[in-house]
């Protein structure tokens, strides 16, 4: 199993470069290679759940050098959970791309960038080394900048430039924080740095945390740092929007914040309160901005900010139930938000617009899209028995248990506003009378429909089987986060 770990980075990286060679022979081969690679990654991520003994920490020494000197890959519950999320969405997005990306010219280059992004995300999630984290983060980020600008229309270039500048500034802050950590501890290994961190250096610690929150906050689009997201996510092609909103902001932003604050620097009550405030503000501001939107993908992008707020609020509570709710919501959000972006892509693919005012009556002509988007809308709005309901409920109960009633109230209000916003989407897009000119449309091709159906069934299935999902899927991650500073010993000790 140990030898499986580097293939999460090596397989997509290799596929990325093979893609350009293979696509010379045939475009079909590029499709095949892309899908085979992501299918392998998904299978490997699922297999890890069966191979890894419960709560075990597996490490892989790169090049055979032992941990504090060499770079190690660390697989614990949290990494495993994120690996499954990333590769599940990646597989369904590549499957969807087969038909969807026919509209664009350079499909091979699209797959190359896609694979580089997946390699970067898998690397970020697996690595146990700060500088390695920075390098993988930049691989994923640079690929995503290029993918946002993929259509090269005026708006897409503008959005990409904005994203690029803010993303690079964020990365610079992150590198600066890593440099300060190296200066203080003399090591770049996360586990080793946690052990070697000097006790008295309160000012330096606060400085490092500020830099990390600015950097990763920008990557995960928490509210004061969110300005790029509503431009960048809608501009990308639909499967990429699904990847960006579904997993990129989590793997690069939320995961890194959780790993560093909980396992390396150590959680304090002040930090916990700061995260909760950031989460609650994102939750409310995101949803309030979403209500007035008429561009479907832009509306969904604002909801991503709001839903990330829920995740941050849950994780910031720092109680086991809160962390459970936050991480569970992270997974659920990956499912339903990717599905919604794929739905938006299907509508745009069929009728050529994303403006809600020009849609209407699509449910009769596009039954698969209409049904799956109804599932996803109910999940995101928190209607039982869909998955979004349970994770939001966990977060609200955890807030009440921790005595944070105002935060619980904010979460409820955010949820109601989300419901209102998705009623609007359903009403304008699928109900009412069909508009003129749309009588002849057909639903999307098979591969696209399959991706959407798979995600919709997962939303429903996880909602119904939520106790099992919480126990077997999310709980190992909660245990890994809850280990706190004990992370160092388990990583360096080998078990």
């Amino acid at each position: 199993m140990m030898n499986l770990l580097p293939t999460f980075v090596a397989a997509p990286l290799g596929a990325a470069f093979l893609m350009l060679l293979v696509s010379r022979i045939s475009r079909k081969l590029a499709d095949l290679l892309g899908n085979l690679c992501t299918f392998y990654l998904l299978a490997a991520a699922v297999a890890l759940y069966f191979l890894r003994a419960p709560f075990q920490v597996v490490t892989y020494q790169m090049g055979g050098w032992a941990a504090p000197i060499g770079i190690n890959l660390v697989l614990d519950g949290l990494s495993q959970f994120l690996l499954l999320t990333v590769n599940l969405i990646a597989f369904l997005a590549t499957l969807y791309s087969i038909s969807y990306m026919e509209r664009y010219t350079a499909k091979d280059k699209y797959y190359t960038l896609f694979m580089l992004m997946v390699a970067g995300m898998n690397g970020v999630v697996l690595t146990g080394d700060f500088f390695n984290l920075y390098v993988f983060l930049e691989i994923a980020a640079v690929a995503s900048y290029a993918l946002v600008a993929f259509g090269t229309e005026a708006e897409e270039l503008e959005a990409s430039f904005k994203y690029l500048i803010l993303g690079t500034v964020a990365s610079t802050f992150i590198l600066f924080a890593i440099a300060v950590i190296y200066g203080l501890t003399g090591t770049l290994n996360m586990a080793d740095a946690a052990l070697a961190f000097p006790q008295g250096a309160a000012v330096a610690r606060a400085f490092i945390i500020t830099l990390f929150i600015m950097g990763f906050g920008m990557k995960s689009a928490m509210v004061p740092f969110h300005a790029w997201l509503p431009d960048a996510h809608p501009s990308a092609p639909a499967p990429i929007s699904a990847m960006l909103s579904g997993v990129l902001i989590k793997a690069l932003g939320v995961y890194a914040v959780v790993r560093i604050l909980y396992n390396v620097l150590g959680m304090t009550p002040q930090l916990s309160y700061m995260l909760m405030v950031l989460g609650a503000v994102s939750m409310l501001v995101g949803v309030l901005l979403a209500i007035g939107q008429w561009d479907l993908k832009r509306l969904l992008a604002y909801h991503s900010i709001s839903q990330i707020g829920y995740v941050i609020l849950g994780i910031g509570l720092a109680t086991p139930l809160g962390i459970m709710g936050g991480l569970f919501h992270l997974f659920n959000h990956a499912l339903f938000k990717s599905l919604l972006f794929l739905n938006a892509g299907a509508i745009e693919y069929t009728i050529g617009t994303r403006d809600l005012k020009q849609m209407g009556g699509l449910s009769r002509k596009m039954p698969v899209t209409a049904a799956t988007s109804l599932f996803a809308s109910m999940s995101i709005a928190g209607i039982p028995p869909f998955n979004g309901f349970w994770s939001k409920l966990f977060i609200i109960i955890a807030c009440v248990q921790a005595g944070r009633l105002w935060f619980a109230l904010a979460a409820v209000i955010g949820s109601l506003l989300t419901l209102a916003s998705f009623l609007k989407f359903q009403k304008y897009a699928f109900f009412e009378k069909i508009k003129q000119g749309f009588e002849g449309i057909k639903d999307v091709p098979l591969a696209m429909a399959f991706s959407m159906l798979a995600l919709a069934l997962l939303c429903l299935g996880i909602g119904i089987a939520y106790p099992y999902a919480a126990e077997y899927l999310v709980n190992p991650a909660v245990v890994a986060v809850g280990r706190g500073l004990g992370y160092s010993k388990t990583v360096l000790g080998g078990f």
């Binding site: 390098v135 640079v142 270039l157 503008e158 430039f161 690029l164 610079t172 939107q293």
Partner: protein
């Protein structure tokens, strides 16, 4: 300490440039200044007063080396910086093709 603080000042100059300047090319220069500030900070971290290049030679007793690790990091960071700068310049050129200007106040098709 003075050297470290001067790196921070350089970083803030870059940040000011990114935040205030209206021209796309000047914004790119601002980002580059920020990257250089962090690279300089890393190199300064590894410096030891009176240290020599970290090469082990026969007959050298108790040598004082500068820390080689930050230098390796800076090399990597420069390569990454090159990739992002190339990306920024490429997109700025395409924006110029579409909008006919480098002025950010005139590049405003996105709103909301």
């Amino acid at each position: 300490m003075f050297v470290y603080l001067s790196c921070v000042v350089l970083l803030l100059i870059g940040l000011y440039c990114v935040a205030v300047k209206k021209n796309l090319v000047k914004i790119i220069i601002g980002v580059a200044i920020m990257e250089y500030a962090v690279n300089l900070f890393l190199v300064v971290l590894g410096y030891r007063h009176g240290g020599t290049a970290p090469i082990i030679q026969a007959g050298l007793k108790d040598p004082l080396f500068v820390d080689p690790l930050p230098q390796a990091l800076v090399l990597t960071a420069i390569v990454i910086g090159l990739a992002t700068t190339a990306m920024m310049v490429a997109i700025a050129m395409r924006i110029y093709d579409r909008y006919g200007t480098f002025d950010v106040t005139k590049i405003r098709k996105l709103k909301g």
